[in-house]
Amino acid sequence: MQEQTKMIELQSVNKWYGPSFQVLKNCSLTVGKGEVVVICGPSGSGKSTLIKCVNALEPIGNGRITVTGVEVSDPKTDMPKLRSKVGMVFQHFELFPHMTILENLCVGQEKVLGRSPKEALVKANALLERVGLTDHAKKYPSQLSGGQQQRVAIARALAMDPVAMLFDEPTSALDPEMINEVLDVMVALAHEGMTMMVVTHEMGFARKVADRIVFMDGGEIVEIGGGDSFFDNPQTERAKSFLSKILAH
């Protein structure tokens, strides 16, 4: 792999929940600018935890995480500022239910980035058009389908002009017929050169856009492989058995 600008770097990250349960074990990973990394692994393997550590929604035990060279775990780091540069999309969308779709897209721009309401609105409308939801601007999240809500959630993250995007199983709470509308937005984003860390079991998506696949099991990064090579030729027994299970469905 050629030397790229590092965007996200994890160095020997360890994390515990409580005194004895180690959820992340010596995880190291570098994500270059414009790279798309898919993280997969069995339930409970620590994927969500790993991705939450990147923008410090979860604190780490020891090790080092940097985003655009800024150390996440440094107490002197302005975390809110760093987080505003890293978009995050959640399994259950987490749109703000008391705000309209437009307000969801504007609140961060105005309150965090200090954009004027006018500026924010222009950006919000452009993003809604991009995810194909212009007609729903004035609605509340509860009035949209899951797939629509998740597209809004992606737009909300993009409204902050992030340098990287984190996705935690963005399609696993969706009805099957809605998965593609969300994946399409993500594929387009990947093709535009967005740096992405995506926890997903959507193997079609992974094959199409992932530069690398990270396989986690029991809190460890067990295997890192290139997009196709991981699926066609997994190196470890654990990855093989995991793949045989998910591909069986």
Partner: protein
């Protein structure tokens, strides 16, 4: 046996002095709720803090004020404290006692409301870069407010009646003024019935208001949630 005096009853029912007493009761209620919400919010925030130095005093405060009768609190404030040189007037003691006591109850209601907002919402707000105060202001508080509207409404009803306890330290609210008027003609039953009707009128009016508020905020966010298409 004197029997029931209708004339006296109607006279007191429209008595200006009593009506004013009812207004004072109303004023005490508004004050207790407003000050209680304000203090209660800070107590709730302290209580939820992960720092013991903040949560311990809050716990202690709630324990004391919810664990002792308001009657005893008022007597201590008005009659007891002067003994150690702290003097409050009747009105000051009443306002202080009501606010402090109500704050303890409201703190628990507020805390429950805030805790009921899902962590995912907090994470989402943090993830777009909001500072903790912004997370509270723009995301958690508006959602918690909806959750606490019903218990808050019940508190208003309860405080309306509880203010009568202040009569014990001669605070001239509705009940105290009723007792004062009894000295005129000793129409005990008639006067207390009038007082009861005044309380009933106030709690009933509030119930109607509360019902409207809950109707407005009780449903899903936004105009009636329509099935997505």
């Amino acid at each position: 046996m004197k029997g029931w005096n209708w004339e006296g009853f109607f006279e007191y029912l429209t008595n200006y002095y009593l009506l004013e007493g009812a207004l004072i009761t109303l004023g005490l209620t508004v004050f207790a709720m407003t000050a209680g919400l304000f203090i209660g919010f800070f107590v709730a925030m302290m209580r939820m803090s992960r720092y013991k130095i903040l949560s311990a005093p809050a716990n202690f405060y709630i324990w004391i004020f919810r664990g002792t009768p308001l009657l005893v609190q008022l007597i201590i404030i008005y009659t007891g404290l002067p003994q150690i040189g702290i003097k409050f007037t009747v009105i000051q003691s009443t306002l202080l006692g009501l606010a402090l006591c109500e704050a303890a109850y409201l703190a628990e209601i507020i805390r429950a409301g805030i805790s009921a907002v899902p962590t995912g919402q907090v994470n989402a707000a943090r993830a777009i870069g909001m500072r903790e105060s912004q997370v509270m202001r723009y995301v958690v508080a508006p959602q918690a407010l909806r959750i606490i509207i019903p218990p808050l409404g019940n508190s208003v009803n309860s405080v309306l009646k509880t203010t009568s306890i202040a009569s014990i330290i001669s605070m001239e609210e509705l009940l105290r003024r009723t007792q004062v008027l009894i000295q005129e003609k000793f129409l005990v039953l008639e006067l207390f019935t009038v007082a009861a009707l005044y309380y009933l009128a106030m709690t009933t009016a509030w119930e109607l208001i509360q019902r409207r508020i809950e109707k407005r905020f009780g449903k899903a966010y936004g105009p009636m949630s329509v099935d997505a298409h």
